[in-house]
């Protein structure tokens, strides 16, 4: 990755879109403090980040639930590590699971759930800690199209209740526009960097499925795609894929 600068305002939903292998995940991991940048720095609310970003919640692309913990314990653990009493943590985990429609699944183990259900557990596992910043790395990538829409709407629903700053990485431009306030386009790697960004001025609350039929959405999509397409083709040329 090359010199890249990105600022996210409090309560802003920013989507990062770019071709495969452009370093989107690296950017998130740096913001999370999981890896240190080779040069440059991360400021969180004006404070220089050293070590792990304690104010951020991270929803991973790959399976990240603890397979040996029940759904309820998976959600409650984030509070327990913060020093909340176990019974209290479990009660609150139960409330959160009810909010995402998984109340009856709390005694089960992750492998007994569908991919979409596991993502919902992952989402509340992060949200229960009430992080100020939400980092999401293609969280709905492995899901089928319908489930993605449902998850997107659920995410917007939960987010609108108390707006956190969100950094949402995806390779799906439609998803990016439908969800975010701002779309950031990254160039193909190596030496990837931010090339351009667009404000998304679509009204909220939004419905992911319906918003795609609106004219403003389609025009924005066309504009961004013109830029993104070139990068995607560059990316293919480099990896020899297609």
């Amino acid at each position: 990755m090359r010199s890249t600068s990105l600022a996210v305002a409090n309560g802003e939903f920013v989507a990062i879109v770019g071709p495969t292998g452009c370093g989107k995940s690296t950017l998130l991991n740096i913001a999370a403090g999981l890896i240190a940048p080779s040069a440059g720095h991360v400021d969180i609310f004006g404070t220089r980040l050293a070590g792990l970003n304690r104010q951020a919640g991270y929803l991973f692309q790959a399976e990240a639930l603890f397979p040996w913990k029940s759904v309820l314990d998976n959600v409650a653990i984030g509070l327990e590590t913060a020093g909340v009493e176990r019974s209290e943590a479990r009660a609150r985990a139960h409330d959160w699971l009810t909010r995402v429609g998984l109340r009856d699944f709390s005694p089960r183990y992750p492998h007994m759930l569908s991919g979409g259900q596991r993502k919902r557990v992952g989402l509340v596992q992060v949200l229960i800690r009430d992080p100020k910043i939400l980092l999401m790395d293609e969280p709905f990538g492995p899901l089928d199209a319908q489930t993605r829409q449902i998850m997107g709407n659920l995410l917007l629903d939960l987010w609108s209740a108390d707006r956190k700053a969100v950094l949402f990485v995806t390779h799906d431009l439609e998803e990016a526009i439908a969800l975010s306030d701002r779309v950031v386009i990254m160039s193909a790697g190596p030496a990837a960097h931010v090339i351009d960004e667009w404000k998304v001025r679509l009204p909220r609350p939004r419905d992911i499925a319906e918003i795609k039929t609106e004219r403003a959405f389609q025009e924005l999509h066309r504009d961004i795609w013109r830029v993104l397409k070139a990068e995607v083709l560059k990316g293919y040329a480099q990896t020899g894929g297609g």
Binding site: L34, F60, A64, F66, W68, K69, I77, H111, Q125, V126
Partner: protein, 262 residues
């Protein structure tokens, strides 16, 4: 195939084998018994011997000794394996330094250690326990080591992002992962604990199933040898069944049994 049908067929295999054994050792064919009873005994003699052992109650003491030796070997071997496995997995340098020696000792056929243990620890139960420990230790050690090493990096990153400190990572991530690997090799390690005990007894002792078999062999009492083997088999099977029960309780969260290293 239905379960009952399968059971019947499985039972038939044993019935046919015992029947053939019986026929060849008792009924002369063309004037000769194909399997001389002196070398092969007969099913009825073996059965009578087993009944006699249990009726007189002499066998219980030997079973108990073998059981205690196996349990001790398993407990001590597992504990040591868990501790060293964790230590090596968390300290790659230590693991690298000891690596050739671990491989060396593991490559050694453990039977040759039995006389040395007998010399060091006497002919009581502890020389047998020691032999079992050397067998169990390596299985548990390798699995725990692997379990700690193979924690998914995503799960680990997630745990850190959820605010776990070192101790919590140990308790909520490394420990369950290592345990699941260890439990997946439970059948093997328990089996080896019994092997260690019996082989140790066989090579020099005053009690235990291995001793019973060895004594019978010493006086060409083939019925006694076979009876000892049957009792040993049933003993191992029942322990294995207990392990299965424990496993079912402890590994509910697992989709399918994972591969193990033995």
């Amino acid at each position: 195939m239905s379960r009952s049908k399968l059971l019947i067929l499985q039972f038939l295999v044993a019935a046919v084998a015992v029947l053939l054994w019986h026929v060849f050792t008792t009924i002369p064919i063309a004037g000769v018994k194909l399997l001389p009873p002196f070398f092969f005994s007969t099913p009825s003699d073996v059965a009578l011997r087993i009944v006699k052992w249990f009726a007189e109650g002499t066998i219980w003491r030997h079973l108990w000794i073998t059981f205690i030796e196996s349990v001790l070997a398993f407990a001590i071997g597992s504990l040591a394996g868990i501790m060293v496995g964790f230590w090596f997995a968390r300290q790659p340098l230590v693991a690298a330094i000891f690596d050739p020696y671990v491989k060396m000792i593991n490559a050694l056929p453990r039977v040759v250690l039995a006389p040395i243990f007998a010399l060091w620890l006497g002919l009581g139960i502890w020389s047998k326990v020691a032999l079992g420990v050397t067998l169990v230790f390596f299985i548990v050690f390798f699995n725990v080591y692997q379990g700690v090493k193979e924690v998914s990096p995503t799960v680990l990153a997630n745990a850190r992002m959820l605010g776990m400190n070192k101790g919590q990572l140990m308790r909520h991530v490394y420990w369950p992962s290592a345990l699941s690997w260890m439990f997946s090799s439970l059948h093997t390690s328990v089996g080896f604990a019994v092997v260690g005990a019996v082989v140790g007894e066989y090579l020099g002792s005053a009690a235990g199933l291995g001793y019973v078999i060895q004594q019978a062999e010493g006086v060409f009492d083939v019925a006694g040898v076979f009876a000892g083997m049957v009792v040993l088999t049933v003993f191992v099977l029942s322990i294995d069944w207990l392990v299965t029960l424990a496993e079912r309780r402890l590994l509910v969260w697992r989709p399918v049994a994972a591969e193990t290293r033995t």
